[in-house]
């Protein structure tokens, strides 16, 4: 644990050149200047393995699947040489009391230095009974674990913004991690699932420079969430030309036209899918023929339907318009009737 990463990596046969290549890749992902790559490699070499405690609450394990199965051989695999993953339900071999003991041991050994990664939201309704681990509510486990943490990474949209568990009517009272953690830096890496590069890049930044990456107003690293999907989408020229697919299997869809009419939320979604892509840069949802569902934005489940165009309203207004039409017509008729009555009265008086 106390060995420097540079020495540890050399022992594992990872050369300085490979480390520089990795640092260059990460620096470019983080939109850092080329000169930062060497500084990043030096920073990584001099860093000590970062203790990481990974808490999984109301989640589907998709975030972990994304991070561990990004592609193979994975550059992201390398990140596991940089960190000591001391607690993770899915990946650790220990279970039950031994697992909890490992978490508490890591907290004690790395007090004030460890990083807590959380995937999944936390239910606080009815005393938090809807999700418990080892007899502890999620909220209690989170509070205990983050108390002496250096930083908290909320991975996935459930942890970052509440996600699916928080969607209307939110029966468990699910909340985002940032609602429950105070006095600690919380970095949100949303997505359903989040991009592995964003996760790896953020940890690499913290290890290399000892600081948090630049964040946007929603606590997301700007390097990965600074531009909208729409702005970097290869189908954007079709949007500009007014060429839109009308269904998922029409001629427009086959020609690769813009998916705006099919509900694509790319214009209001900030993520790196269109540039980094998935599965080793092979593709991303829009390239596969499906519009962006806006999964890295808050409340994306409750924004009027995944297949409803962005320019359409989010509510069904037909009933309201019907009532308004009847009311308006009645009011107009009543106004005219009053005018007729007044005219008749005036005629009699004169």
């Amino acid at each position: 644990m106390t060995e420097l990463l540079g020495a540890s990596l050399r022992e594992r046969g990872i050369s300085r050149r490979a480390l520089l290549q990795y640092a260059t890749y990460m620096a470019s992902l983080l939109a850092l200047p080329p000169s930062a790559a060497a500084a990043m490699a030096d920073g990584l070499a001099k860093a000590r393995r970062q203790a990481v405690i990974w808490l999984s609450f109301q989640e589907c394990t998709g975030c972990t699947e994304s991070l561990t199965r990004s592609f193979s051989p994975s550059l992201e695999d390398l990140i596991f040489d940089f960190i000591s993953l001391d607690y993770h339900h899915t990946l650790q071999s220990a279970s039950g009391e031994a697992a909890e003991a490992a978490r508490r041991q890591s907290m004690q050994d790395n007090k004030g230095k460890y990083v807590v990664v959380v995937d999944g939201s936390v239910p606080i309704g009815d005393g938090g009974v809807y999700s418990m681990i080892a007899g502890q509510t999620n909220a209690a486990m989170l509070a205990e674990t983050v108390e002496h943490a250096a930083a908290v990474l909320a991975v996935g949209t459930c942890a970052a913004f509440g996600g699916l568990p928080e969607a209307d009517p939110n029966p468990t009272g699910a909340v985002a991690i940032s609602k429950l953690v105070s006095g600690k830096p919380v970095i949100n890496i949303p997505g359903c699932p989040p991009m592995p590069q964003a996760m790896a890049g953020t940890i690499a930044h913290i290890l290399s420079f000892g600081t948090l990456p630049e964040l946007d107003a929603l606590g997301r690293p700007r390097a990965f969430f600074g531009e909208s999907i729409h702005d970097r989408c290869y189908r954007r020229p079709f949007y500009e030309r007014g060429l839109f697919a009308k269904s998922f299997d029409d001629e427009g869809a086959r020609q690769g036209w813009c998916l705006f009419e099919l509900g694509c939320k790319g214009p209001v979604t900030y993520n790196a899918c269109a540039t980094q892509k998935w599965n080793g840069g092979v593709s991303f949802p829009i390239q596969s023929g499906h519009g962006c569902i806006g999964c890295s934005e808050p409340h994306f489940w409750d924004r009027g339907g995944l297949y409803k165009p962005l320019s359409a309203g989010t509510t069904d207004v037909r009933k309201v318009i019907g009532i308004a039409a009847v009311a308006g017509t009645a009011l107009g008729a009543a106004s005219a009737a009053l005018a007729r009555q007044r005219a008749a009265t005036n005629a009699k008086e004169s």
């Binding site: 500009e240 030309r241 705006f260 989010t314 308004a324 308006g328 009011l331 107009g332 008729a333």
Partner: protein, 219 residues
């Protein structure tokens, strides 16, 4: 609920309800008023009432020759921003989708860049018409708060739409929310100010046409 969700949800619903209810209130309030009965016989050769109405509606699309010179600027400029507004409102794909959601009607979209260009021209024409209102002593004297409000609520959706299309000034979702909110404000004000001319112009011109054609006057 963020600003965009508020704009696309409650704000738009409220505005559409006011727009529909208010417009029908004004329209039926006028159409059901008691009409002045004209007991005189129509002048020989006078067209049928409907023909007289339609002729006047069409005839007043352009000023008479004796007024053409004096009203050239306002006529041309008005055509520019009315046609521009029609291109922007009915030509842009997102607008068509909005209308389709409400009415089920749909038609092919124009290229976004073409609509953007029409929007820029429209905004310039709107600024020009405001300048005339402010600089022309008679028009300025005749102008009230409602006139300036009608101008503002017409120009704001165009301006915010251009900003949203060009991603200028703020993040897209913020600009889109402001654009939708500006449309909501337009819809709320529409029945109560002179914007209502978009509905009433045909009826007022038609009524004039019927009255005068009955007397054999070609207006």
């Amino acid at each position: 609920m963020d600003l965009l969700d508020f704009a696309r949800g409650p704000a738009l619903t409220f505005a559409l309800a006011i727009f529909v209810g208010g417009t029908l209130w004004r329209l039926f309030g006028v159409l059901l008023l008691p009409r002045l009965r004209d007991l005189s016989l129509p002048r020989e050769g006078a067209p049928a009432p409907l023909a007289g109405a339609l002729r006047t509606i069409a005839r007043r699309m352009w000023p008479r020759r004796e007024f053409a010179q004096a009203t050239l600027f306002i006529t041309l400029n008005s055509y520019v921003f009315h046609i521009g507004l029609a291109v922007v409102v009915f030509g842009l794909a997102p607008h068509i989708l909005f209308i389709r959601q409400l009415t089920g009607l749909s038609w092919p979209a124009l290229p976004s860049n073409l609509v953007f260009g029409a929007g820029v021209i429209t905004l310039f024409a709107l600024v020009a018409v405001l300048a005339r209102r402010l600089l022309h002593p008679v028009v300025r004297l005749l102008s009230g708060v409602g006139d300036y409000l009608s101008w503002l609520l017409t120009a704001l959706p165009v301006a915010t739409g251009l900003l949203a299309s060009g991603h200028l000034g703020a993040r897209y979702e913020t600009l889109l929310a402001l654009h939708v909110l500006s449309i909501a404000a337009f819809l709320v004000w529409f029945p109560f100010g002179k914007l209502m001319h978009a509905v009433l112009f045909a009826f007022s011109r038609g009524a004039t046409g019927i009255r005068f054609s009955h007397r054999g006057v070609n207006v």
